[in-house]
């Protein structure tokens, strides 16, 4: 029962360094200030961004910069086994805090003193790499909201097989109980890491290996996100590309 078969392929037919297809849509909802929908393989997430606006709780207000408020919610039907509660459990709160720290590092918070920016993620279908997909859809929604950032945050997950081979963008079948998994988010797919989360035990000799593989995967993800935002901006300001008909429909399909 290994992630990689003897021929070097994974269960869904990918090589270890390949990410899954990314499908996206920006501006899904008109009522939010920014919204995005992302499919990373079969993981489907909706994100809405509200703000910057004046927070209602004055105690949370910061005089020199804005505060980032994230919420992560899993729909009760998103997994094969029905979940009892969509949020409020320890894992969703942990994900929300990790996302807050990542976005605080990228957003120019000092531009909006005494303000609050809300990022709400709703997971509609679960198929692994939930935290990475949430960060990716959050950065798309923030771009749709026009929030200035140092760069697009790209996140990717990476699993390590017992013989030290790195598999990026794990799906739910690869997220088995004892497989060490690392989620890394970088700004613009480069070396600045804004989020790192490791689950399960990992030998230290394998750490650099999967860190490097995850960082390369974030570079791939970032190229997809950048093309998505670029296409959305072109569609918004009226430019159209004649090189690819799919781009005109504001619906891009990427695969590594």
């Amino acid at each position: 029962m290994s992630i990689i078969s003897e021929h070097g392929y994974r269960q869904d037919g990918r090589k270890p360094h390949q990410i899954r297809n990314l499908n996206y849509k920006l501006g899904v909802y008109s009522q939010a200030d920014g919204s995005a929908y992302l499919e990373q393989g079969n993981t489907k997430i909706l994100c809405a961004v509200y703000g910057p606006y004046e927070p209602k709780q004055r105690s949370r207000l910061l005089e020199d910069r804005c505060i980032i408020n994230c919420q992560y919610s899993m729909a009760t039907f998103s997994t094969n086994e029905r979940k009892e509660r969509p949020r409020g459990d320890r894992r969703s709160l942990e994900f929300a805090r990790l996302m807050e720290k990542a976005f605080e590092a990228a957003i120019l918070t000092e531009n909006y003193p005494r303000s609050q920016i809300d990022v709400f993620c709703e997971l509609l279908q679960a198929d692994g790499s939930h935290l990475a997909a949430c960060v990716n859809v959050g950065t798309l929604a923030l771009a749709d909201a026009g929030v200035p950032m140092r760069g697009l945050i790209a996140a990717a997950s990476c699993a390590c097989t017992p013989d030290g081979l790195a598999c990026v963008d794990v799906n739910s079948r690869e997220e088995m109980g004892i497989i060490p998994r690392l989620t890394v988010a970088t700004i613009s797919g480069q070396d600045a890491i804004v989020l790192a989360e490791l689950q399960n035990r990992l030998h230290k000799n394998h750490l650099i290996l999967i860190l490097e593989a995850a960082r390369k995967a974030t570079a791939h993800v970032h190229s997809c996100l950048e093309a998505a935002v670029l296409t959305h901006i072109k569609a918004a300001i009226g430019l159209s590309s004649t090189t690819d008909n799919d781009m005109e429909r504001d619906n891009i399909r990427f695969s590594d």
Partner: protein
């Protein structure tokens, strides 16, 4: 209403006077709905699913069937189990537990409308053995709220139940009077009979006008509203054989739920008029939804990619 939309008094007067004149801010007449979009089969992890949009209101409904063990069939409540989740995507007011009061109100209305043996005759088939049963969970996620959530929930639940597929199982007796459940080799499924499933309509009082399908701005001006759930009654049910009569008419229907919401007072004449308006409108809703659900070209719409379109 739980949504936060601030209107000045002058704006409210404008909306109310327009409604009393038979004109609304978006140009509709009092009994017009905004464009309704319904898709089924939008989620791969559910037994049945649907997505409903009325104007900007957006709901996602998933139906999951779970095989459960129970102590005795006599004490088991064989009904649909509704859960409504107000996603914070709709408004920051729904963060954490902010939308729970509204969600409980919606799920209580759906529970009450479906809490009888008439609307879903196939509930009997969910009992497999004295200790085993299918339990149907209907989960609704409110993704965007632009008024009239209860009508969208009613439409979506019917569409999702239409899409629901439940596996056939083999029940075998085991030792000590117990039973075991097996799956057959052929992956056969059965579907629910939804011909009697009710639909909701919300009739709202703005000044002296009565309108359906409130937008968010109109909900801020509403004095009181009445929610009605109506199930169609077929000619064969009444025992008469009038072949010229259409299957769904507003005088051939069963009201399974009615509730006054949002406070205010009502005269009996007004309530009767609102009920009649609701019955007429919900008859049209039933006809339109039944036409939509038997549309044979729905596979061409790629329902699994509903948010990418």
């Amino acid at each position: 209403m739980k949504m936060e939309v601030r209107l000045s008094d002058a704006e409210k007067v404008f909306i109310i006077h327009g409604a009393q004149e038979g004109l609304r801010a978006d140009g509709r007449s009092p009994f017009d709905y905004r464009p309704i979009t319904i898709q089924t089969g939008v989620l791969a992890t559910t037994n049945g699913s649907a997505r409903v949009r009325i104007g900007s209101t957006d709901l996602l409904i998933g139906v999951k069937a779970e095989l459960i063990n129970m102590e005795s069939v006599a004490v088991y409540r064989n009904r649909l189990n509704f859960f409504v989740d107000c996603s914070a995507n709709a408004t920051p007011l729904f963060v954490g537990r902010g939308g729970e009061e509204f969600a409980d109100e919606l799920s209580a209305a759906l529970d009450a409308a479906y809490d009888n043996n008439y609307v879903l005759p196939d509930l009997k088939k969910l009992i497999l053995s004295p200790t085993h049963a299918w339990k149907l969970f209907v989960d609704i996620v409110l993704l965007q709220c632009d008024g009239n959530v209860i009508d969208a929930a009613g439409l979506g639940v019917k569409a999702a139940l239409k899409d629901t597929e439940i596996s056939e199982v083999i029940v075998r007796p085991a030792d000590e009077g117990k039973y075991t459940i097996d799956l057959p080799d052929d992956n056969t499924v059965w579907k629910l009979d939804i011909s009697r499933v009710p639909l909701f309509v919300s009739v709202n009082r703005l000044g002296t006008a009565k309108i359906v399908d409130n937008s968010l701005a109109e909900e801020a001006c509403t004095r009181t509203s009445v929610w009605i759930a109506v199930a169609p009654q077929f000619v064969s049910d009444t025992g008469h054989n009038k072949s010229s009569q259409s299957p769904v008419k507003h005088d051939n229907c069963i009201i399974t739920f009615m509730r006054q919401c949002d406070g205010g007072t009502l005269e009996i004449d007004s309530l009767e008029e609102m009920i009649n308006i609701g019955l007429k409108v919900v008859g049209q809703l039933h006809e339109a939804l039944d036409r939509r659900l038997i549309d044979e070209n729905w596979m061409a719409e790629k329902p699994l990619s509903t948010f990418l379109q």
